[in-house]
């Protein structure tokens, strides 16, 4: 199992003036899931395109299933399943016809391809829509059909480029379930995402890319430990204008106050007895505390710390971690505005 199934070694790629990859290296052991995480334009898709023989790197090496991607692209194509970011389906064919076509073009006999297509349509809950033209499918249905197409040949290596981008929460959960089932079956999976919770939920290891470079690499847990900051949130019984000033010295950072003045939050270094100290200080100031929560860093915090920038669009899908408003994304700007208001 220690075999490396996907290997990127010093990949460089430019499109005209735009440098998409500036020396990206990572590897994925057989049977594991790698989450390639980064904002839009980080180079995730370019890396996937090179590994799936769709693009040639300007420099660097790539191996998939032990095969040199540059020297033997045709051999690599027999080992991989690919679900690209934009669903790559034939809109004028039905879902079933799409799958049968992909099967036939992959070397299956028509009968074989039909059986496998029926199986996958059932698995992805597309059986009812199987004989409808794909042009009329919803975004979630297209994604699932695209996933089904990538699984048709039961490939040992699978590439999913942002499999849930643009999906509603229900479709997203469904895609997650499918991916979880897959990972139990020994498939090696590379998954790109701009959603931290998605990488956290599905990946064994995470490689964070930004501006075409790897800026972090580790298990979700290791990455969280690397960012030492935790997050504290205090809910008061009634609005207290002075509360932010009371806890500010203890948390050593900026305190955000919610619009109604009841909730205070701040990034903190984890310290023993922090919650006790905060409650005591507020109590001494005559303020009633309803609730206090010290939260370990989420990948949002990690990502924010690593890139020093907002995470475009990550807010769209933050529901699944169950955390309150994360640090990255559009929420961050609001929190800072509030905090400035509180300090003024």
């Amino acid at each position: 199992m220690a075999d490396t199934m996907i290997e990127a070694d010093g990949l460089f790629k430019s499109y005209g003036e735009t440098r998409a990859l500036a020396g990206v290296s990572f590897s994925v052991p057989a049977g594991s899931v790698l989450g390639l995480l980064g904002p839009n334009g980080a180079g995730k898709t370019t890396a996937v395109r090179i590994l799936t023989t769709l693009a040639l790197p300007d420099a660097g090496q790539a191996r998939v299933a032990g095969i040199d991607v540059l020297a033997h692209p045709a051999a690599v194509r027999r080992q991989i399943g690919v679900a690209a970011q934009d669903a790559t389906l034939d809109g004028l064919l039905t879902g079933r016809q799409n799958l049968v076509l992909v099967g036939e073009l992959s070397g299956m006999r028509t009968g074989q391809a039909r059986t496998r297509a029926a199986e996958l349509l059932e698995l992805f809950e597309l059986a009812d829509a199987a004989d409808r033209v794909v042009k009329g499918y919803s975004g979630g249905m297209r994604r699932r059909l695209d996933l089904a197409a990538s699984l048709l040949m039961r490939p040992p290596v699978l590439f999913l480029d942002e499999p849930t981008t643009g999906l509603d929460p229900v479709s997203r959960q469904r895609v997650w379930e499918v991916i979880r089932d897959l990972t139990g079956s020994g498939v090696t999976l590379l998954l790109t995402t701009q959603y931290l919770d998605e990488a956290d939920a599905l990946a064994d290891r995470i490689v964070v890319v930004n501006h075409g470079q790897v800026i972090a690499d580790g298990t979700p847990r290791e990455l969280k430990e690397r960012s030492r900051s935790a997050h504290v949130e205090v809910t008061l019984a009634e609005p207290e204008p002075g509360a932010a000033g009371v806890i500010a010295p203890l948390v050593g950072g900026r305190v955000s106050v919610s619009a109604h003045g009841l909730r205070l939050s701040a990034a903190v270094d984890t310290a023993p007895g922090l919650a006790t100290a905060l409650v005591r200080a507020l109590d001494q100031a005559g303020m009633l505390v309803d609730n206090i929560e010290v939260r370990q860093p989420s990948l949002d915090d990690v990502f924010f710390a690593l890139t020093g920038a907002n995470v475009p669009g990550h807010d769209n899908g933050s529901g699944a971690t169950g955390t309150s408003a994360g640090l990255g994304g559009p929420g961050a700007g609001v929190a800072e505005l509030e905090s400035e208001g509180a300090q003024a």
Binding site: T53, L54, G66, R77, R78, V82, L89, D90, L93, G107
Partner: protein
Amino acid sequence: MTPAIAQRPRDAAGTRPITHSAAERVRNVVSMTRRNLVHISREPMQLSDVTIQPVLFTVLFIYLFGGAIPIPGGGSYTDFILAGLLTLNLVTSTMGTAVGLATDLHEGIIERFRALPMWRPAVLVGRSLADLLTACLCALVVAVTGLAVGWRTSAGPLPIIAGFALVLFFAYSLSWVAACVGLNGKSPESAASFGFIVLFPLAFVSNVLVPTQHMPGWLQVMADWNPVSAVTAGARQLWDNPNPSASIAAWPMQHPIEASLAWSVLILAVAAPLASRYFRRRTTE
């Protein structure tokens, strides 16, 4: 399970490149052809240029020009023009190949094809075969419409079929030129302009609609050496229809069948490899 799977490609890699057997290639081409035919069945209006247009052209030209154009050497204009209409319709319909390929390149589906272990030229061959099948439908429509408005031939069944085959073969070779255009166009719309800029002049500056005898000298030379004229004269000769070009000294007009076959083979030999090179270039980044 995984180690066993990982082992297999390692043995295959490096020792010999993966190739496709003839049977695999044929199966890929059949799949792609079928796909393109399904497309046509979904949007039947795509077929208008091989169904409605031939009927319109046939009726229009025969009744508009029929009485006004004398045929050197005699014979009816209806019998004269039918081979011309067949060529005209088939030549202009090759525009569909350009538009179809350009459309494919703009859809995500081409990415799917590229990541599959398929025989890639099947994308092009499947397109050209589907277009050949619609061209056959077009030929049938022209023939039936022609018969309905009075076209007659005294030739036997074999020469009649040979006449249709001659024109269809030329259209097939021309569809590879259209493929080159479609693969180089920026969009399906720009591929469509190929029809108006290249195909219409090519089809009209010929003996398709009128005998070339009455053209100005320079134009007549162009028309007599235009492959479209050779193909049309070839069909007329095979069908025993009026063929005024037979009295013209230019070599292609004296040997129209040989000339049109030569043109078709030449065009195919140049355009097909060129198209697959453009395809490779267009799908490499």
